[in-house]
Symmetry: C2
DNA sequence: TTGAAAGCGATACCAC
DNA sequence: GTGGTATCGCTTTCAA
């Protein structure tokens, strides 16, 4: 007794419809209703029909808090991104969520872009929901974070970067390679002056440094560089461009560590009536898609963001379902999309 | 017995640390540990210290599935948006999440932008997590959706639109008013030809219709309109602009139902070497922020997206904490930001 | 201030 | 194919 929601409940009262209510109405046991919902083929067609009618009649909505607790599987996947308000990450997450929802999982998001919230705190909060897997952005985590993550004993996928020693699985690309490839591109075009508008972000700085490395090795020394705060915005692109132009940069190429910055840089150059790309060319990063369509003057480094989401989802699902994981290190690469003509 | 995680467990085994483990180590009862975590001021300082040490030593992470089940409060707030990959919504959600996380709530997102997933299905899935409140985008819901939502018996906030009969609380602005205001602006500038690039979305279409209504009343009849698929993109902006220009639109103003579309329209006009805004002026919508900074030629309708998130969070929290809700209908208004000079 | 016992609503295990 | 019973890990209630 006390299983039905009558007012005679000794301790708590509840108006919500439960599995037991449905079971009683259908004239079967609770576990049968559970099976009818989760594994319908293990239930006789007639029983199934009765149960479905009872569910419809009552408007029953399963309680996944209870289900997750009992089955030790929350059907929740956590994802930690620097900012959902950044298209670069949100488009990845969108495909990630979509793939997972097909398999019956929901994604719960954590935003690591607030400096006032410690990453460890965020991970802790997220882990308290007992996700069945976790998606991380980047491969740098504090030791206490690593411990928390490892102790959770769930599949982990790190993304947007590569490391020889992932926590579990990693899906990304090599930022140093990007820098080197951009440097080679710049050299091939024989630009004699090179500007940098770089976001203050570990991976962006790495891309800039590696570009610079090759350039200086090749004797290109007319460099104008500025660092702007993350997250990137068109506004900071304008500001950055303004700075290096005022420092004396008047021709050549500007490498921006994001397409958003690049757009701002383009706007600043346009507003000064400087010809693009003849006098100043611009290179972006990250493939905001529209770049290629609307700004033919912009060369950019294309990253297949959807693929990151897809591969991350696939790898996580494989792990959860204990299927073999093909690769623990998935390099999705990148490509330089050259747009010079107008 | 069977409360500790030994291998003698009759039914299930578990490696995870539980409240009981911590309690045993701290030499107190489980409920005391629970209090130490949730209501530390109801626990003696000495006891608190012992408990905290035990938590640190074990690396205990509370299980909110269990906590939520027992307390009938998941500390989860659901939000349904058309697309997280759309800055307009993601910036609202970001502030919404931030405000709620300060109060100890986490946001779980549902993406309603996939036509193959029924809204009702999505709401059902979300409700199975037993959120303590729900954020909806728009005020149009199918009857079955309304029933589900109402049956859940939790605070609801509808956003991005207004209605005299909200499900619970509504935070938004009047799209018809926007259309009328834009029409008046257009009339005041005495444009004789008006183009429309409109997304195929209920609220966008409403803004367009209401603009048109006033214009035709005032005798402006040289109209060129095209509808492009949602979600909006720069690419569709270009396509839309191309269409109406090819239909014969050669001067005047184009009203785009989003700033993203407006950017594409601007790019198309620029590529044709048409002067902006002298020959063709462009009006956007939604305040992508950068519009004002980088495209001085673009007039736009500014919506305080962050405020929507803030007000929605505040209202929901008030309801949950059973504090009085000041207004059930919150009109955040809008403003036209005119940028004509270059 | 602390604790014992009884749930919360579901699923796992084992029988039938 | 179906059901009984014992949990899952936590909080509520009530009592000390």
């Amino acid at each position: 007794m006390n299983k039905n929601n009558t007012t005679t409940d000794k301790h708590r009262s509840s108006a919500a419809i439960t599995l037991d209510n449905v079971a009683k109405i259908a004239g079967v046991s609770a576990i049968t209703v559970s099976r009818a919902i989760n594994t319908p083929d293990k239930v006789a067609p007639e029983t199934l029909k009765k149960v479905r009618e009872a569910i419809d009649k009552t408007g029953y909505v399963p309680n996944l808090l209870a289900g997750g607790l009992a089955s030790r599987s929350s059907k929740l996947i956590a994802a930690i991104v620097p900012s959902i308000a950044n298209l670069v990450y949100s488009s990845t997450i969108r495909l990630f969520s979509k793939s997972l929802s097909k398999a019956g999982y929901q994604v719960i998001l954590g935003d690591s872009g607030y400096p006032e919230v410690l990453e460890e705190e965020l991970v802790r909060t997220i882990l308290s929901r007992r996700p069945d897997g976790i998606f991380l952005t980047g491969v740098d985590h504090s030791p206490s974070c690593r411990n928390l993550l490892l102790a959770a004993n769930i599949p982990i996928v790190e993304t947007w970067d590569l490391t020889p020693s992932p926590l579990d699985i990693v899906v990304g690309f090599n930022h140093m390679d990007v820098g080197h490839a951009v440097a080679k591109f710049i050299l091939s075009k024989k630009y004699n002056k090179v500007g940098f508008v770089t976001a203050n972000d570990a991976r962006a700085l790495l891309r800039q440094r590696s570009t610079l490395e090759i350039l200086s090795q090749s004797g290109v020394s007319d460099i104008y560089a500025t660092t702007v705060p993350a997250p990137t915005s068109l506004e900071y692109g304008r500001i950055g461009a303004k700075q290096i132009i005022e420092e004396g940069f008047d021709s050549g190429v500007i490498f921006c560590t994001s397409d958003t910055l690049a757009q701002g840089v383009l706007a600043e150059i346009q507003s000064r009536n400087i010809s693009i790309p003849d006098t100043i060319a611009v290179i972006g990063f990250g493939d905001q898609v529209f770049a290629a369509h609307t700004y033919p003057a912009l060369t950019t480094v294309r990253i297949d963001r959807e693929r990151i989401g897809q591969e991350a989802a696939d790898a996580l699902l494989a792990r959860i379902q204990k299927r073999p994981v093909k690769n623990k290190i998935i390099d999705i690469g990148f490509s330089i999309i050259e747009r010079e003509s107008t």
